[in-house]
Symmetry: C2
Subunit: 265 residues, 2 copies
């Protein structure tokens, strides 16, 4: 275990930058994973861990001490810091007191005929993390994001995914046209402004692999995306409600896909 008492320590300065700038995360290929959910998941990915920062009181929490005892990494990678220093590198107000500096894993190659979710300029890191979680929950193991979407490996988005990021193949800064060409998938676009009802019987692509596209919180999907759509689908809403949050909408669409596939088995 190392002890660091100063904010001007190089490691702390580096993590502070990563926490405050997703651009830095993207450029450096590293990020900060805060909290017990992420630490537990990292037990299965020790090769990603560069450093584990523990707030002075953190080991008093039995979940933290348990995860620390099973993390299969060198003791030299552990750092104890006072609360004043921890707060500088912690992206949330209430933390159990553990956060890790990690390498962002490299995505796997895009292959034909696999299911994908594509985010078209989804801005909110919480929405991005939640959509990644819903994707995997509904058996979609590949997620791609347009260059103007929130960076999925930024600390906030990573937290919202609750450890799911490490189980999903995540491509960033990619165009839908490229993804569609490489996968040869059917492209389904969720659009609150119009389209066929998600619940119509006839979108029937249950045998095929799909790319589900979800758009920006304010603007929805872009025109370019609409030109690439094989089908534009709309969740029927009570007229008093203008729209669902994009993470909610994605969850409804992805589980409707799952339902259709289960019912065909």
């Amino acid at each position: 275990m190392n002890y660091v008492s100063s904010e001007s320590n190089e490691l702390i300065k580096k993590m502070k930058k990563l926490v405050h700038s997703s651009r830095t995360c993207r450029k450096e290929g590293q990020t900060v994973a805060e909290g017990i959910h992420l630490a537990k998941e990292l037990v299965n990915h020790p090769e990603l861990i560069r450093a584990v920062i523990l707030r002075k009181d953190a080991l008093e929490n039995h979940e933290v001490s348990e995860v620390v005892s099973v993390l299969p990494i060198d003791k030299k990678k552990f750092y104890e810091v006072p609360a004043s220093v921890y707060n500088v590198i912690c992206p949330v107000e209430q933390s159990v007191g553990i956060c890790c500096l990690i390498d962002i894993p490299k995505p796997a190659e895009i292959k034909p005929q696999e299911d994908w979710v594509f985010m078209d300029d989804v801005q909110d890191p919480g929405n991005v993390g939640t959509i990644i979680r819903s994707a995997l929950a509904s058996d979609v193991k590949n997620v791609a994001l347009s260059v103007n979407s929130a960076y999925p490996w930024a600390p906030k988005a990573l937290r919202a995914g609750m450890g799911i990021h490490f189980l999903v193949n995540i491509h960033t800064g990619i165009e839908l046209s490229e993804l569609k060409q490489k996968t040869e998938d059917i492209c389904l676009v969720a659009d609150a402004r119009g389209g066929e009802s998600l619940f119509n019987d006839d979108w029937g692509y249950s045998a095929d692999k799909t790319i589900w596209v979800f758009g920006n919180e304010g603007q929805g999907v872009s025109r370019e995306v609409l030109t690439l759509a094989d089908k534009v689908l709309l969740i029927p809403l009570n007229p008093a409600v203008e729209s669902l949050n994009v993470a909610m909408a994605a969850c409804v669409c992805l589980f409707e896909q799952k339902r259709r596939r289960l019912s065909k088995k």
Copy 2:
């Protein structure tokens, strides 16, 4: 328009208390509605508005000036305050600069045979607000909450609902047993720990009215709730994902109900 420059003004002190304590909201029957979405919705409910607080620069925003010009209330109810005072009563970091002190509307009587959502100790105000929104989006116009759930009229939960609270009949501090008795509805409980698949064909209550029950973020639904369930349902998830966030799970369940009802028409 009134001008208030001090935090020690009685109105400001009152609103500060409401923002920081949902217990005070519950006790006083009043709350603080922050932001443009809520202000727009309040145009249709002017009888609820006690005061409108505008940050000094707020009217420079055209959405704010537009909503202020159409709010059908006495000019005496408007207060302009400097940013330093506004920040004391504003529940969020970034605000367009409008928030209203309002009376919490009284719920309508519980009648037999109407659809309901019941929250069993849902703790997070954001989840509560989001679930209320999903309920109405899926045509469920009545929402009830156990006494240990987050208070739905607390400023944070109100914000998360984005104005939907005023269109829904909301009962707080009620037992599921009472609700079930009064409505004579079928009681459907979502439980991540087990139950029949949500997507099975045979829960077939499409003709009947239902109470959908969603439980605490960590513990799920309570034992008492399970004894009242007519059916316990589970969303089938990829084995790598332990559970969905309760707001996501509620959205999937409520739209599956909506889908079944639409398909029977």
